[in-house]
Symmetry: C2
Subunit: 173 residues, 2 copies
DNA sequence: TAATATTTTCAAAACTTTTTGAAAGTAAAA
DNA sequence: TTTTACTTTCAAAAAGTTTTGAAAATATTA
């Protein structure tokens, strides 16, 4: 066995998992889902459902559902070990890939629908009242900025981390 | 009065407000708050609490609380009209400013706390077990990418829309 | 085949967030 | 000062979300 200050590592892990859970909540990812993701990111080896349940003190149903949601999002993967019946789970650890995956999902869930509404609404007969004029102006502006963002996300999702970090560094420096 | 296809404008408005509400939800902004913001963005003139209540079919308490939250976020402003007792409310309509404000708030609420935890945790004695090593590696990576993002958000928040759109266009083209 | 191990499902319970509405508070007008 | 107009507060209700746990389904081994 390894001699480590177990208490400190456990504490640090616990704090990080908690905070990742809080962060997840404000990003529309539920607490358990974010915590499972954090736990798996920190783990050097893949883990079983029972280990996740035990470490996070959550029920089997909860663990199972959220693990599948993470797989759906492309953030967690299944692994089968030879001679073992249990399924093992491990996380995407490269934060760049994590962010790309999240951006992709959110683009599908958020940007696409609002752009659809904006397109639909731009076809409507709105008349020349101040209300109609303002509506056209505001929605047109919104569409223009959203479309630029959308293009950017799309581009970033196709690029690699290095390209992106270089761009950021150049801008920020 | 203006002759307009009232039904169409009302429908279009309704759809946009609904969708903005949905969008808000996945951004940690509650539905009523996002809808009030959408309504005020579309309005050519500032509106009273009663008008907002009436148009969105929400209670006085709800309207009041969320309007104050929007003021806190710097997305809505109060206005007093001479000779009138009522308070009037109007929204920031420039989406660039809206996004800047939201980024600022979220930075305070999300990026700062996670960076604090990462800093705290980086001081801990983690030992040399695979667990300890992995923990160090993952948290260091996360901190590095978050710090770059943080710098970028900070820079963007200090810049104007033109600068930002130019950068985006240059990248995307 | 039956027995055992493991995963999945889902209705009900627990928990969280949002909304309501009426009462309390505040400010302006009479 | 009293009345009236308006805003704010907050406890309770409603709505929404997450979690549990046991039963059903599935897969593996004997």
């Amino acid at each position: 066995m390894y001699k480590t200050k177990t208490v400190d590592l456990q504490e640090a892990k616990y704090k990080f998992i908690q905070e990742w859970g809080v962060l997840g909540s404000s990003w529309g990812i539920n607490r358990a889902m974010a915590q499972i993701h954090a736990l798996l990111m920190l783990a050097p080896e893949s883990k079983t459902t029972d280990e996740v349940m035990e470490e996070l003190k959550i029920s089997r149903g909860n663990a199972n559902m959220n693990m599948r949601a993470l797989i759906d999002w492309g953030l967690v993967f299944k692994e089968y070990k030879p001679g073992e019946r249990k399924e093992y789970f491990y996380a995407e650890k490269d934060l760049w890939n994590v962010m790309k995956q999240i951006a992709k999902e959110r683009r599908k869930r958020e940007i696409v629908p609002i752009r659809d509404v904006l397109a639909e609404v731009s076809e409507a007969e709105l008349g020349n009242s101040p209300e109609g004029k303002e509506f056209k102006k505001v929605t047109k502006d919104i569409d223009s900025i959203i479309s630029k963002f959308d293009g950017f996300i799309d581009l970033a999702a196709k690029s690699d981390q290095n390209w992106f970090l270089k761009v950021l560094s150049k801008l920020v420096k």
